[in-house]
């Protein structure tokens, strides 16, 4: 048991929405090239549906933070065009399901223009978008498509699990010379965490070992970090030591940190909210097998949603969403291999 030392002043926690908003203010106040485009993002429209972009149009003018028509293709297209000629656009696509309407712009253009032009043009674009099950919004408002984007060479994919990470990762995404899809989780919007240090970047493609451990490596990101920590805490009480790694950037991912961890533990579980088949977990599991086959003490396990659209009905949605219990079971399964051997 640890107790707060009385001399240490309690730091005021901040919310996810506030952290994202602070990062946008930080970027826009320091760099005139940073602009924000999206539906309802300006202040007359309440600064975004949950208020992530609040205050930006008032502070930096309505040319730099502009509410758009409902035209995702035109939003991302305009962001790409502006990026090519030196702006640093942040396009907000309200929900990840709506990126589908802009898929041509994202996949055929944002991702490929640098390569196809032989490096003459680049697209320093950030697409902020949100998603996540748990709010009973059914099949078209809660999908996770990170695997689609990760499977498209030329786009980076980022997901933060805490306010401070969200702040630092968003700033790095804005600094980055290439397109980044920055995926926010709708339930985590209402979470609290330690405040970030002003201006402090969290580098892309660097994972965070949230909890060190020696028996199993548990790789997670976004909404699955908290349940991973909960599962690890429970197993710890039984003497099972789990190393929890928050990937933070899905693509390109931090192979070094993950492989070093699995080389040490010999066991791995990958967990994400997205549907399990053909998901990010499959790629990570494969790389682990390719690189560390001799060191593995058991087959790598994956946790993800079942193969179906996000259901509406509460008991179905609860069954669809995998949490600490499923993660714990997967960890135990990697350990069974040892027992059987």
């Amino acid at each position: 048991m640890t107790t707060e030392s009385p001399s240490k002043p309690a730091v005021k926690k901040i919310g996810m929405i506030q952290a994202l908003n602070m990062a946008l203010h930080e970027a826009m106040s320091k760099d005139e090239r940073v602009i924000v485009l999206g539906e309802d993002v300006a202040d007359p429209e309440e600064g975004g549906i949950v208020g992530v972009t609040k205050g930006l149009s008032t502070a930096y003018g309505d040319l730099r933070c502009r509410s758009t028509p409902i035209s995702e293709q035109a939003i991302v297209g305009a962001a790409i065009g502006a990026a090519i000629v030196g702006m640093k656009p942040i396009a907000e696509i309200m929900l990840m399901n709506f990126t589908t309407v802009a898929m041509d712009m994202i996949v055929n253009h944002a991702a490929k223009l640098r390569f196809m032009s032989g490096g003459q043009t680049g697209v320093p674009l950030v697409i902020r978008t949100a998603t996540g099950a748990g709010l009973s919004v059914g099949g078209q408002h809660a999908d996770y498509y990170e695997a689609w984007f990760a499977h498209t060479p030329g786009i980076k994919v980022v997901m933060a699990s805490t306010p401070a990470d969200a702040y630092g990762l968003l700033l790095s995404a804005i600094d980055d010379p290439d397109p980044v899809i920055f995926v926010e989780n709708t339930l985590l919007y209402f979470s609290q965490g330690e405040p970030p240090e002003p201006g402090k970047r969290v580098p892309l493609s660097v994972a965070n070992v949230v909890k060190p451990g020696s028996d199993v490596s548990l790789v997670c990101y976004g909404s699955h970090v908290a349940p991973s920590l909960a599962a690890a805490g429970k197993l710890e009480a039984e003497g099972i030591s789990v190393e929890v790694i928050d990937l933070r950037t899905i693509s390109p991912w931090d192979r070094k940190t993950v492989l070093a961890s699995v080389a040490k533990t010999g066991r791995a579980v990958i967990t994400h909210e997205a549907v399990k088949p053909f998901g990010v977990g499959a790629e990570i599991s494969s790389v682990i097998h390719e690189e560390l086959f001799d060191k593995l003490k058991g087959p790598v396990q994956r946790v993800g949603a079942p193969y179906c659209p996000v259901p509406y009905s509460k008991p179905l949605e609860v069954a669809f969403m995998q949490g600490a219990e499923a993660i714990e079971a997967a960890v135990r399964k990697t350990l069974q291999a040892r027992a059987a051997a």
Binding site: E39, D40, P44, E45, E46, I49, S67, T68, P69, I70, S71, E72, Q73, A74, N97, F98, T100, V101, L135, S136, V137, G138, G139, Q140, H141, P306, Y307, C308, P309, P311, Y312, S313, K314, P315, L316, A319, F320
Partner: protein, 328 residues
Amino acid sequence: MSSAPIPDRAILVDMYRKMTTIKQNDEKSRAIILSGKIPMVYYSPRGQECIPAAVSVNLTPEDNICTIYRGTHDMIAKGVPLKDLWAELAGRATGTCKGKGGPMHITHPASGVLVTTGIVGSSLPIANGVALASQIRGDKRVAVAYFGDAASNIGAFHEALNMAAVWKLPVIFVCQNNRYGEHTKYEKTTAAKQIADRGAAYSMPGVRVDGNDPVAMYNVAKTAIDRARAGEGPTLIEAMTFRFYGHVFGDADKYMDPGEKKAAMAADPVPRYRQWLIDNGHITAGELETMEKQIDAELTEAIEAAIDAPWPEVSELRKDVFAEEIAA
């Protein structure tokens, strides 16, 4: 109320029945959400009752519609049974979609509700396909695509209008212009002075009408539907209206001038039409009261049945992904 031609009494009364059912359904929806008994995401259509009521009295049960998340009015007007609708809103196994779709995806082919989409603009291209099948089969059915004003700025709208016009599809595009898309005002995002004008770009009739005037709305819908059924092609209808409860229920409406909503609510199309029916001798107040009481009882029964209905089994996650059930 618009002047002649005034439809038959039976049609006038049927329109009112649909309108008041939608209004009462909305009142019950908001109350049940607040009570916590059926939590759901709810895009209230209150204020827009007249549009689908006037369209639907011109449709046959075999005609089809594709609608959107703000669509309970369209569904009720087309005849989705209230019990099935409410069981779906409650996420129960007995719902229209076994609880899998929910409020944004109500589907009931038996009453002609083929698609409800949560994606802005997507009702139009799909309605084209439904109309295309009718054109090929020669079955004289028409398809209606409902959508909002802000949806007219998405590519799908423009692609669908062009295809429907060039192929003369039996489809009617009904834009319910409530002057806002989420929190953004029409003028801020839409270059056309009126959406009806966009019809001209695709060589199809574009008609703007007071969507809160049942007689005017009826006549415009009838002309468009007759035209489509006769094989003369699509029409774009822009029905002017207003949503009384913001974008999504719980909306604080801070982006809106308070006077705007007040004025719209003061001109509530449902009681206004009710009074007109009485004043013009189409029906008596007593008859209307009886009708309203009966609808209230029907709704109450539907909601109570929904609350008592069973939840779906978890094995449903493996069913309906494909026609064939996925093995456990």
